[in-house]
Amino acid sequence: MRETAAAGQGVVDGRAPSGDHFIEADRITMRYTTRRSSTLALDNVTLSVAPKEFVALVGQSGCGKTTMLRILAGLIRPTEGTIRIGGQHLWHGSRRDEQTLRMLGLVFQDANLFPWYTVEDNIGLPLRLRGASKREWRTRAGELSELVQLAGFERSYPRELSGGMRQRVAIARAMSYNPEILLMDEPFGALDALTRDRMNLELQSITAATGATVAFVTHSITEAVFLADRVVLLTPRPGRIRSITPAKFERPRTLELQSDPAFQDTVRELRRQLYEDEGQDR
């Protein structure tokens, strides 16, 4: 197993060790300025994700991990630094590159489904926005309902579904146009532990089936180590990369992995670093 790159001094380089970069965030700095104050949310973060790699971003609340993901998604423009996806710049001045955006699928902590649409309509929304024919998007919505195990619920409204089911609809929606990259912001944060475990397993099989590249924000270290190939730990205020931890466990992973000593060591070490930053014991 590769050594954990410790922060200590200087800037940790979060680039993919393979040297093959699909998502490249280069020296990202994000400063929120209001009339009264100025907050440095991210400070000089360099991070890349290799094709088909699964990278998890962890850290305490307020460490800028969500900001980082929103920057990768093109929802906010960084104060400084550049984002390239598949070699293409995401931003051209204040405009976003249309082709590049199409490579990204987003899943948020809230499912953010449209309550006036059925499951099928929600999943098909991205394709409809792209002018797909009704037959086309409905067929695709049907396929995806199967993939996320919601077959039979196509005509249901979001209010008729449980939290986990809604989140699966959101994942299906994000995947409807076959994005190469999935950006997920605490997608299972609002779910109960049992559902969360199940969703983690499902996400693993979905990403395996589609070969997607994933950047995944979570505050659960266990979840991060369980899902990811690399775990990026951010320090709070300003957000900097504290460490990069590879999680080279064999796939497909089962829940039993979580009782594996090597797995637990990795989790323990990351947790130690997290609490160290907090300056608290336990």
Partner: protein, 281 residues
């Protein structure tokens, strides 16, 4: 209900007897009971305090009066006038209210600039302006339509404004991440999320509209149900007065239910439509 894998596809679920009673059957039982109760109290009060029929007629006399009024010559004309004023005025209020609400909701600086005017026009007792409108627009229908429109305008405008501002940021993010254009964002997102607010405004607006029409008719002209009330009062005809009041109430009910029916048609997905029977389970 939090178990993940359980809910059946599109199932409404089996309601127990008690739930069914509380949900679907309740209004069919409670409404007649309530009606009987009101009539009983009404009669009791008359008997207990020995009230003169000139002050409070018996319920059956009111019903008789209603039949008389409805059959009387010119009643349909009066009803038609009030209905026309209410509907035209309400339609104007709806168009202007939604339009202005949408504009003010989107252009922050404009709303802030106009806020004193908006607050002032809300605070002024608009009924007090009725004589003024009669001076300006005459004793005919026009002045009443203007009154109706102004009264119904504010709830619709303010709710629409609120609705435009209430689009969920997370849902906006979805549209932004999909690089949706202005029109698509409006049609797929903003339109749908504003509609429930517009209907909330319409439900208040339609009630205000009838008030506007009747008050306008009190003060000027010789047409409409409001005018009929004034005539009954001048003739000290309590029976007819009560009859017209009940007819006005029924008219109000009908118009309100029409708005609710429209709401069910346009936003069947919304909580306010789904109602108690489903949302409480």
């Amino acid at each position: 209900m939090s178990s993940e894998s359980q809910p059946a596809p599109r199932g409404k679920g089996r309601a127990s007897g008690a739930e069914l009673l509380r949900g679907k059957l309740l209004p069919w039982i409670s409404t007649p009971v309530l009606l009987v109760l009101v009539v009983a109290v009404w009669k009791l009060v008359i008997a207990a305090f020995d009230i003169s029929p000139y002050v409070l007629p018996q319920p059956e006399e009111v019903v008789g009066g209603m039949v008389e009024v409805v059959q009387s010559q010119g009643f349909m004309g009066h009803l038609w006038v009030t209905l026309t004023e209410t509907l035209i005025g309400f339609a104007i209020a709806l168009v202007l209210g939604v339009g202005m609400g949408a504009v003010l909701g989107r252009i922050l600086w404009l709303e802030r600039a106009l806020r004193p005017l908006i607050v002032a026009s809300q605070v002024v007792p608009k009924v007090a302006l009725v004589p003024l409108f009669i001076v300006w627009f005459g004793f005919g229908m026009t002045s009443k339509i203007v009154i109706v429109a102004i009264l119904a305008f504010f709830p619709i405008m303010l709710n629409s404004l609120l609705g435009v501002r209430s689009v969920e940021p997370g849902q906006r993010d979805v549209m932004r991440s999909l690089n949706a254009g202005r029109w698509a964002t409006f049609w797929r997102l903003e339109y749908h999320s504003t509609l429930p607010y517009v209907f909330a405004g319409m439900e208040i607006g339609i009630v205000f509209a009838i008030i506007g029409a009747v008050v306008g008719e009190y003060l000027g002209g010789n047409q409409g149900l409001g005018y009929l009330i004034v005539v009954s009062l001048n003739a000290l005809n309590a029976q007819q007065l009560f009859a017209v009041i009940v007819i006005l109430t029924l008219l109000g009910f009908a118009l309100f239910l029409a708005v609710v029916a429209l709401k069910r048609l346009f936003i069947p997905w919304h909580e306010s439509v789904i109602g108690v029977d489903e949302s409480t389970t």
